[in-house]
């Protein structure tokens, strides 16, 4: 039954905004069964909604990028700390230079409400979020994009907690990090946290009234940890990480859509169904097959991430993490092409007449370039009528930048 449903689906033939909704208006159910919101609650909710995208957050992001981008430069000899795969990668480029730049890659981000009335996206950026004692070289930087559904609070929890959990997991590893295990554990823990305690739920979000346990709320999570030698990406849901390598777009995660053959099989094996309601949805409700939260769709919708570990090469230009507000409208290739142009200097320079043009938080033009690239992608998604929140993180991976 489910397979038939899925085969009959026509994703591209029904690109209406309604059809692209990730979730069959779970909120609507709750309004029916719950109470109408009072102005106070609405005010609270909006306050919450403001959280993830306050200009302060953005400024911090830019500030961080410039600080960490400029200051952290260490010199060391090659034989000191390179793991075996790093060494092989390094050989192709800088074996004889003996200088390895160990600093946070530059980055920029944009996160906007867009044409939706609720802001459910959240972005977390934590440069140098973890230093492993035994390994001076192993500075790691955390980037995460979370696209909530049903309400914003699961995405908010991910934003405030997931990097801490990942940090805890990798710090417990004595010798070398088992990334797959560390990510799987972190995702499991955040899932337990958001499902377990209703007290942990921030009272500021709009679902606060609806139930003691907001079981119908969830979030995607695409998380990347960038180390000097590799890019680890853990993904759960339909946000996506894409690497731009030598001008080509290399996806670092594969969206968990319910009609992805292996995911369809997994859902069905667990006893669930995928029903085509505008687009394929687990139990006819959720348009993704994995997510943090969504207790009511377990065990069909799981929180286990798929993890990719990619060695960094000198050809790497940048990485883009974004919610489907971008990817539904802009292809991997287009996005990579645009970011690459922005980063290589052919791209945006601020218009001379801009009122807010002050370079206080953009001491380094490359950071500006990352921010501008993220901005441009966001605008492009909006231009193409994206009806969703749009969140984009651009990380500059070029070693000589």
């Amino acid at each position: 039954m489910a397979e038939i449903c899925c085969e009959s689906k026509s994703l591209s033939s029904s690109p209406s905004r309604v059809a692209r909704r990730k979730r069959m208006e779970i909120r609507r159910f709750k309004f029916v069964s719950g109470m109408p919101l009072t102005p106070q609650e609405n005010a609270k909710r909006q306050k919450k909604v403001l959280g993830p995208i306050s200009p302060r957050e953005c400024d911090n992001a830019v500030d961080n990028s410039s600080n960490n981008g400029v200051i952290e430069v260490s010199r060391l000899s090659l034989d000191l700390n390179l793991s075996s795969n790093e060494a092989s990668l390094e050989k192709s480029s800088e074996v004889n230079t003996v200088v390895v730049v160990d600093r946070c890659p530059k980055f920029g981000m944009t996160s906007v409400c867009g044409r939706r009335r609720d802001m459910e996206d959240a972005v977390a950026i934590h440069p140098s979020f973890c230093k492993r004692d035994g390994q001076i070289l192993s500075r790691m930087h955390f980037f995460g994009v979370y696209d909530g559904h049903g309400c914003s609070h699961v995405a908010m929890s991910c934003r405030s907690r997931l990097h801490e959990l990942v940090k805890e997991e990798i710090e417990t590893d004595e010798v070398s990090v088992d990334w797959r295990l560390a990510m799987a554990r972190s995702f499991k823990r955040i899932d337990d946290e958001v499902l377990g305690s209703s007290d942990g739920v921030d009272a500021n979000c709009r679902c606060e009234l609806q139930a003691p346990k907001c079981d119908t709320v969830g979030s995607t999570a695409v998380v990347s940890v960038v180390t000097p030698d590799k890019i680890v990406v853990a993904n759960c849901g339909d946000s996506r990480a894409v690497l731009c390598r030598g001008g080509r777009a290399v996806p670092l995660s594969i969206d968990h859509k319910p009609d992805r053959p292996d995911e369809l099989q997994r859902v069905q094996a667990a006893g669930g169904r995928v029903i085509d309601w505008d687009i394929p949805r687990v139990l006819g409700v959720l348009a993704m097959s994995r997510a943090i939260g969504d207790g009511y769709l377990k065990p069909y919708v799981i929180s286990e991430p798929e993890v990719t570990i990619t060695g960094r090469t000198p050809e790497d230009d940048c990485m883009i993490l974004a919610s489907d507000g971008l990817w539904d409208k802009v292809s991997n290739e287009t996005a990579c092409g645009i970011v690459r142009m922005c980063l290589t200097g052919q791209g945006p320079v601020l218009s001379p007449s801009s009122p807010s043009e002050n370079d206080d938080n953009a001491g380094d033009s490359s950071d500006k370039a990352c921010s501008d690239a993220a901005l441009l992608l966001t605008k492009l998604a909006m231009a193409r009528n994206s009806g969703d929140n749009v969140s984009v993180v651009v990380v500059d991976l070029r070693r000589d930048s």
């Binding site: 102005p39 306050k47 200009p55 920029g108 791209g347 320079v349 001379p352 801009s354 807010s356 901005l375």
Partner: protein, 251 residues
């Protein structure tokens, strides 16, 4: 008294017609300024201020007329049915302003993407900076919050119709005498009109503050661009609506 005399109605109608004429004049002036004084931010600012002033004056006039005539302003017979079916508290939704910014910005960046990537800059709405987009986004969230507050107030007022006293008075009449009026009814209807007038003023305030804050985020050139598009949209909707109504024989 809640009854609007025909002279009052014509005053209201006049206020609206003058407003439309003023919008047309403002649009002409904005377009002319853009053409005659390209890059002259000082001139741009003057015409922008003038536009804002006209909005202020229009809303002041409405505020003065509202207490006695609020129901007319909520369902104005001089507006087209298409316009009336999209009214939010006797006017446009403030968040429309944000949507228009996104639409204009998006279409301008999309149509000039290649040359933009080559470094060509026009300074138009397509080139909103990170800071500007952040501010627009913050404003959007704020407006949604305010809109929702007013929408909830409006909802509550609409439900009041089915409450004491109107629902009870209506039910008191004997079966054959539905809709009879008395002092209690007039008092209740007057109270409803006044309540409508209050919320109308609040909504107009929000519309005005939205416009002002939005224009403050934009460069003078972008602001002119925006005002032109907003006025064109407003006036076009009016004309398109008229044509529709004529086709349907309702005017």
């Amino acid at each position: 008294m809640a009854t609007t005399s025909s002279s009052e109605e014509s005053r209201l109608h006049c206020c609206f017609e003058n407003w439309i004429i003023q919008q047309q004049n403002d649009l002409r002036e904005l377009l002319q300024t853009l053409k005659d004084s390209p890059g002259d931010d000082k001139k741009f600012c003057l015409v922008i201020q003038k536009s804002i002033l006209h909005f202020e004056q229009y809303y002041e006039e409405r505020a003065a007329l509202a207490p006695a005539n609020a129901p007319f302003l909520f369902a104005p017979p001089w507006c087209t049915s298409f316009e009336n079916s999209h009214l939010w508290i006797a006017g446009c939704r403030p968040s429309l302003a944000i949507r228009l910014i996104y639409t204009l910005s998006g279409s301008q960046i999309e149509s000039h993407l290649t040359e933009y990537l080559q470094g060509v800059r026009r300074g138009n709405l397509g080139e909103l900076t990170c800071e500007q987009l952040g501010l627009v986004n913050d404003l959007q969230c704020k407006i949604y919050k305010e809109e929702e507050k007013l929408s909830n107030k409006m909802a509550s007022m609409q439900e009041d119709i089915a409450d004491d006293p109107l629902a009870l008075i209506a039910n008191e009449f004997d079966s054959g005498r539905v809709g009879e009026s008395n002092d209690d009814v007039d008092r209740a209807l007057d109270a409803h009109s006044l309540a409508l007038a209050t919320i109308l003023k609040d909504a107009d305030k929000l519309r005005l503050s939205t416009l002002k804050e939005l224009l403050a985020i934009l460069t003078p050139f972008q602001a002119i661009d925006y005002l032109i598009a907003a006025k064109k949209l407003h006036l076009s909707m009016h004309e398109w609506g008229k044509r529709r109504d004529q086709q349907h024989g309702s005017i």
